[in-house]
């Protein structure tokens, strides 16, 4: 029991939780933007892979780190454009297109990786983002190390969440976006372009998902390897539901999930880790996500027009 308390009171545990949450926050914000406009984006998993790959490859070829982030975002937006074109004006099944985009983005990353680096046994490394300590704040015990001694991309993740929350609830654009996700016909009557707003949301949202992916290669690890996204995109889909499509609650959900993930890794080091096989610890975050979905299902306020294509002139 004391050991568990030790984990929960250690600064490194909370620092790890914030670090693990960062890519999830980027991608979850991206998904919230898409879904608030009425488009479920199941391309998220693959878009995170292409972001992780493209950002890393740009830096590996000599680009500065922030350019890598920009390249990742552009790559994500490109696949977002593909998703948006097929699901918005053509109104194709968002499930099928999303899975197709995931398969395409993932295989494109792997194909390009093998093309550029045909014969590498151990993945090459880059120099990733280093932690940046915010003066004074970083000296606060526990909280300082957890919140104010992170890499710049982590600060950007929290900044993005604040920006998305502000944009959604306090700007005309956010209102327009939410209205095309709730009642596209009414939005159209107001003179809004449903197609334009939805496509824009999917493209921008996909860009953020890719930045989330690039966090893995440019900040958390220093190389790209296959299977590295490992279901994080699907976790983000669950986080959107858990956060009831609200940026603030989704950030809390991401932190909760990440704390749990960091906790299970540390729990494996304790005596209990010798009794319970490690696979069960690794399962816990996925099981937690399913449990959270069940718990939130009754209260979920789904955007009314989510997954409902809009074709002008249809009654």
């Amino acid at each position: 029991m004391m050991e568990v308390l030790d984990i929960l009171l250690s600064a490194s545990f909370w620092a790890a939780a914030v670090r693990i949450a960062s890519p999830l926050i980027f991608a979850t914000m991206g998904e919230i933007i898409c879904e608030r406009a009425g488009v479920l984006n199941l391309g998220i998993e693959g878009i995170m892979v292409i972001g992780a790959f493209a950002g890393w490859m740009a830096v590996y070829q000599g680009a500065p780190l922030w350019s890598g982030v920009a390249v990742a975002m552009l790559a994500g937006m490109l696949f977002g454009l593909l998703h948006a074109t097929l699901t918005v004006p053509f109104g194709l099944s968002q499930h099928v297109v999303g899975l197709g985009v995931t398969l395409l983005a993932t295989s494109t990353s792997y194909y390009a990786y093998r093309l550029i680096l045909p014969e590498v046994s151990s993945p090459p490394k880059i120099e990733p983002f280093q932690p940046f300590e915010i003066p004074i704040l970083a000296d606060i015990p526990i909280i300082g190390e957890a919140l104010f001694a992170q890499t710049p991309l982590t600060y950007a993740a929290f900044g993005l969440a604040a920006l998305v929350a502000f944009a959604l609830y306090r700007t005309p654009l956010g209102l327009a976006l939410r209205s095309v996700g709730e009642n596209p016909a009414a939005a159209e009557a107001q003179g809004l372009s449903v197609t334009g707003l939805r496509m824009g949301a999917v493209i921008v949202g996909s860009g953020f998902m890719a930045v989330g992916g690039s966090f893995l290669t440019l900040s958390a690890f220093s190389s790209f390897f296959f299977e590295m996204v490992n279901g994080r995109g699907w976790i983000c889909i669950a986080l959107v539901v858990f956060g009831m499509w609200q940026p603030g609650k989704a950030v809390l959900g991401a932190l909760l999930y990440a704390a749990f993930d960091a906790f299970q890794i540390r729990l494996q080091q304790l005596p209990i880790g010798n009794v319970v096989p490690y696979q069960f610890f690794l399962m816990m975050p996925y099981i937690l996500s399913i449990a959270a979905l069940i718990a939130m299902s009754r209260r979920a306020e789904v955007p009314a027009a989510l997954m409902v294509p809009f074709n002008r002139g249809d009654r």
Binding site: F90, L92, N230, V241, L282, Y286, I290, R312
Partner: protein, 350 residues
């Protein structure tokens, strides 16, 4: 732009667009080969040769197609009811686990037919139960099955990893994570002696016909289509929607698990973590390319398997990464769903 449905699309339109989708996929394949610095015609030729150029290649393709027929059918059945089962991978592994458990137990002494039936039946049962969970969560609590079935894939792989390092570890495995192997006598025999093709392939075709009959000749098939077309209208018409969804799930999960049974009993003989290189996910492509038609699934499974087998063999000869196959299949899927739409609607301005 606006989409206008065409009341009676012409045959040229209905065939032309899907054909164009496949044609465009070939064009993309050529471009990808060019990017890799290879000759596109030589690359396509090598893929074709690797997939069907010899008796060995063709049998390899049919073997690879076998699990895809099952997962493709599983997806086709579920998607027809708009039940998004993305968890065929987990169901496949569930079936594989049970096949090994039964096949290495005292029951393995049974004669071939009852033993294979028992293994296949228990595999299908487990697969059905694995999908039952997410579907009950959907019907009872409204939890989206896409996320739950996807996450179950990850949970199942970890569970298999645990089994292979723990209770099901092969004592003779020399540290390799694999299970004990089934005895030769406990395995699915080959269809023709000397040819490397097992009865799993035949079972796949039988299942395809069975699903086709269910879909076209039974009340359940009618109800599945009604639920998929318009769930509210189906409910209004008195169709027990939840019961139909549960039945669909049992059918779909069972079919996916048969892929695990067939791979273990027919091909590999044991359980390992690389038993399925994503057959569950590829099943989605197989089903969509077949327009969710059960008999079409057989054809598209052979086609998709051919692309994968051919690309594997091509990448050994030319410097084109084997992932070209995954890219092509994803592109074919996206082109195809667009083509199917365009064969039914007209794009108009304004």
């Amino acid at each position: 732009m606006r989409l206008e449905p065409i009341a009676h699309p012409s045959l040229a339109r209905r065939l032309g667009f899907p054909a164009a989708a496949l044609g465009l996929t070939v064009v993309v394949a050529s471009l990808l080969a060019l990017i890799a610095g290879a000759n596109p015609f030589a690359t396509l030729g090598l893929i074709l040769k690797g997939a069907a150029g010899s008796k060995f290649a063709l049998l390899e393709t049919l073997n690879r197609a076998t699990p895809l027929i099952f997962t493709g059918l599983a997806v086709a059945v579920a998607f027809r009811a708009k039940l998004w089962n993305i968890g065929a991978e987990a169901q496949l592994y569930g079936g594989a686990i049970i096949t090994v458990v039964v096949g290495t137990s005292a029951l393995a002494a049974l004669p071939t037919l009852p033993l294979q039936f028992l293994m296949g039946f228990s595999a299908a049962l487990i697969g059905a139960l694995i999908l039952l969970g997410p579907v009950l969560l959907k019907t009872r609590f409204g939890v989206d099955e896409v996320v739950t079935t996807l996450l179950l894939n990850f949970i199942m792989l970890l569970f298999v990893s645990y089994l292979l390092e723990g209770p099901m570890k092969d004592p003779m495995g020399m540290g390799w994570p694999k299970s004990e192997a089934l005895d030769r006598s406990a395995r699915l025999p080959r269809i023709v002696d000397g040819l490397r093709l097992h009865w799993g392939f035949a079972l796949g075709i039988i299942c395809a016909f069975a699903v086709w009959i269910i879909q076209t000749r039974t009340t359940l098939g009618y109800e599945i289509r009604a639920v998929g077309l318009n769930i509210r209208a189906a409910r209004f018409a008195g169709i027990p929607v939840n019961a139909v969804l549960v039945k669909t799930a049992l059918l779909s999960g069972g079919l996916a698990a048969l892929a695990g049974f067939s791979e273990v009993s027919g091909l590999k003989g044991h359980l390992s973590l690389d038993l399925s290189p994503g057959f569950g996910y590829t099943g989605i492509i197989v089903a969509m390319l077949a327009l969710l038609h059960p008999l079409g699934v057989v054809v598209s499974a052979v086609f998709v398997a051919g692309v994968f087998v051919g690309s594997d063999s091509m990448s050994r000869a030319a410097d084109v990464p084997t992932y070209i196959a995954d890219m092509l299949m994803a592109i074919a899927l996206l082109f195809m769903v667009l083509a199917i739409l365009l064969s039914r609607v007209r794009v108009v301005r304004g």
